[in-house]
């Protein structure tokens, strides 16, 4: 277990992805048709990363993310960079959202560090801490087709070793906060949950960084309180989407980890008000002590428009500030 370092009470962060600006979307389309070079694309990805780091600083987030401007999909990105994968094609996620689903065609493993250079780049742009962002082994396995390994278990554990190496490389590069997303962890809550726990033990083994796992959109009550055994310091969860109904679940057994409370809906166009965010945090405080709470959006914001994203982040930061002031009795200025 690691401490939250010197982050403030009700510190704010984000889940990972931000929308890509129009110039980057256009460049990605061109890169796909080989109309621009890899270097040109990278330069624009860096520009977009710089912009998002600046936006987060301006809004006042405490723990930043790099915004994943260089990633398409959270699983395909790792699959593309690792051994053993091919991309099968586009598969629907919901509505008209599609993702390129990888297929495991051989033994999986790392060729080289995947995210370290981007982490270093983002961290070089700001004095605030930036989170290292990884996709967890169970989710990579679950969101890929498997034509190679006889069992899911073999695939998941092999991936856990690879993701663990990546986490240790991030730490060596200076990451003090590392997030390992497992949004698929409750896919087979009876059959596979122990496997997902075992895999995370392998990933975070020996790390001294503060670790977070983001879990969303599934039957969280079904895996609670078992999920408190996941080998990370913080669980980051989507509460807003379900109108904070999960708090009822958390009343049944004490929430023993830190929580990242999702206070803005990542899949609605409506921008929440500051008061709405503050109210969500106050509700959470009735169940979980402030010292264990960090504040974040429900999920990555990449499917939102840029102005919606900025609006939601601003409401989140200002809402957290309102409640922090109530708790500490101080008066920091908040935007009207």
């Amino acid at each position: 277990m690691s401490s939250r370092m010197n982050l403030p009470l009700l510190a704010t962060s984000a889940v990972g992805s931000y929308p890509k600006p129009a110039y980057l979307l256009e460049a990605r389309r061109k890169a796909l048709r080989q109309q621009i070079s890899k270097q040109e694309l990278t330069a624009l990805e860096q520009r977009a990363t710089r912009e998002w780091v600046q936006i987060q600083e301006d809004i006042g987030l405490d723990l930043l993310v790099d915004g994943e401007q260089y990633r398409g999909d959270m699983v395909a990105y790792f699959a593309d960079e690792m051994e053993g994968f091919a991309i099968a094609g586009l598969v629907r996620s919901y509505g008209n959202r599609y993702y390129p689903k990888p297929v495991v065609v051989g033994p999986v493993g790392r060729r080289h560090p995947v995210t370290v250079e981007w982490f270093k780049f983002a961290q070089s742009l700001t004095k605030r801490p930036v989170k290292g962002m990884l996709t967890g082994p169970y989710t990579i396995a679950e969101w890929s087709f498997n034509e190679h390994y006889p069992t899911r278990r073999e695939l998941v554990l092999e991936l856990a070793r690879a993701v663990g190496e990546e986490a240790r490389d991030l730490e060596k590069a200076g990451a003090r906060y590392i997030q390992i997303d497992e949004p698929a962890i409750h896919t087979r809550p009876d059959e596979d949950f122990e496997l997902a726990l075992e895999a995370m033990e392998i990933v975070t083994d020996g790390l001294s960084a503060y670790t977070v796992s983001h879990i969303c959109y599934g039957d969280v009550p079904r895996i609670y309180p078992r999920v408190l055994k996941l080998a990370v310091d913080q669980l980051d969860l989507a509460l807003k989407n379900e109108h904070f109904a999960l708090l009822e679940t958390f009343k049944q057994a004490r929430f023993t980890k830190d929580i990242g409370v999702g206070v803005v809906d990542a899949h609605s166009h409506r921008v929440e008000s500051v008061e709405e965010v503050a109210e969500g945090i106050r509700k959470t405080l009735q169940v979980i002590p402030a010292e264990q709470i960090m504040v974040s959006p429900d999920c990555g914001l990449k499917t939102r428009a840029i102005d919606e994203t900025v609006g939601k982040l601003r409401a989140m930061v200002d809402g957290a500030k309102v409640v922090r002031n109530e708790l500490t009795g101080t008066r920091e200025p908040t935007r009207a």
Binding site: L32, A88, G89, S93, Y98, N146, Y217, G218, H267
Partner: protein
């Protein structure tokens, strides 16, 4: 022995072909085009996937459910009594649906799938099978804040969807498939499922297929055969235990056998299919057997779905020859 599919089909082609449906929905959501224009593209894509199934040689097709956002809200939005909530995972897949919420008494207010069925029939030279999400599954995947019990909710949905089945029948549907994947997960509620099924099918003369997938019917067999369905659809991939389950008692209905894995890209060989069919014909005669993928094909990229259909048709053809050979 004939071939069929379970229902949904990939809505967009593989890259780099443009995803017409996808970009049209995007434009519709942004208010750049109206609903008529969206429907026009949905019609085009539906005709395209119907043609694809017919060309591949599938004997009984569906319209691919191109117009369905998902199997729950497609009905919940068109029945009265529901509002629509946030995203939920669809069973153990990585597809998400918006959760229907029963806020008031649910009721059928008009045909939901009839125009889809008539459109598909006009565009297909092969028989078309309309699909309706069953009352039990719709209840199980919705949030119920109105009815005191799941049983009352499921039966009310059975009554509402009974009118949909009758409307399909009136439009000329000779076969109707009712999808009930949730019963594989919630076997303890079999009595509720049975009662809702009886209400659903009351007075419906069309041939009715009860389609289950994502699991097995262990514990529900053979009593599931007593329900008012002519055909039972089973998933022999995710529900591989079904191989043992059906051995426990004579299979007295027709069987729609999901033997190709609709959720993995590995394409089955002709040999695998022939072996599967031999196992199936040990307990169901070929004339009472339809061969299908284990679930809808929308879990796969379009090109892989097409290869699965090709494998299905070729494997069934060879299996038919194999059976003839065995008899002579």
């Amino acid at each position: 022995m004939i071939t069929t599919v379970i229902g949904n089909y990939p809505k967009i082609p593989d890259l780099p072909a443009p995803g017409k449906w996808r970009s049209t929905v995007e434009r519709f959501q942004k208010g750049q085009i109206d609903e008529t224009q969206l429907q026009h593209v949905e019609d085009e894509v539906t005709a395209e996937v119907i043609n694809e199934q017919v060309q591949m040689g599938i004997d009984v097709i569906t319209d691919g459910q191109i117009r369905w956002e998902d199997a729950q809200t497609h009905f919940a939005r068109r029945l009265s009594g529901f509002s629509i909530n946030g995203l939920q995972r669809y069973f153990d897949t990585n597809i998400y649906f918006r959760e229907p919420v029963a806020e008031h008494a649910v009721a059928w207010t008009g045909p939901i799938t009839v125009s889809e069925f008539t459109f598909a029939r006009e565009h297909s030279s092969k028989p078309v099978k309309p699909v309706v999400t069953g009352p039990f599954t719709l209840a199980a995947l919705s949030r119920n804040v109105h009815y005191p019990t799941l049983k009352e909710f499921a039966i009310a949905l059975g009554r509402a969807l009974n009118r949909e089945l009758k409307a399909l029948e009136a439009a000329g549907a000779e076969v109707i498939q009712i999808d009930e994947p949730a019963i594989c997960q919630r076997k303890q509620d079999f009595d509720i499922f049975a009662e809702a099924s009886r209400v659903l099918t009351d007075g419906v003369k069309a041939k009715k297929i009860l389609c289950t997938y994502f699991g097995d019917i262990g514990g529900l067999y053979p009593q599931i055969l007593d329900l008012p369905f002519d055909v039972i659809g089973l998933d022999f991939v995710a529900g591989y235990r079904n191989w043992d389950v059906v051995a426990a008692a004579p299979f007295t209905r027709e069987l729609q056998a999901g033997v190709l894995d609709a959720r993995n890209t590995r394409v089955e060989s002709v040999d695998e299919l022939v072996r599967a069919v031999r196992r199936l014909t040990a307990f169901v005669s070929p004339g009472r057997l339809m061969i299908s993928p284990s679930a809808g094909l929308e879990f796969l990229p379009r090109s892989v779905a097409r290869r699965k259909l090709a494998a299905l048709v070729e494997g069934t053809k060879v299996a038919n020859q194999d059976l003839k050979g065995a008899r002579t």
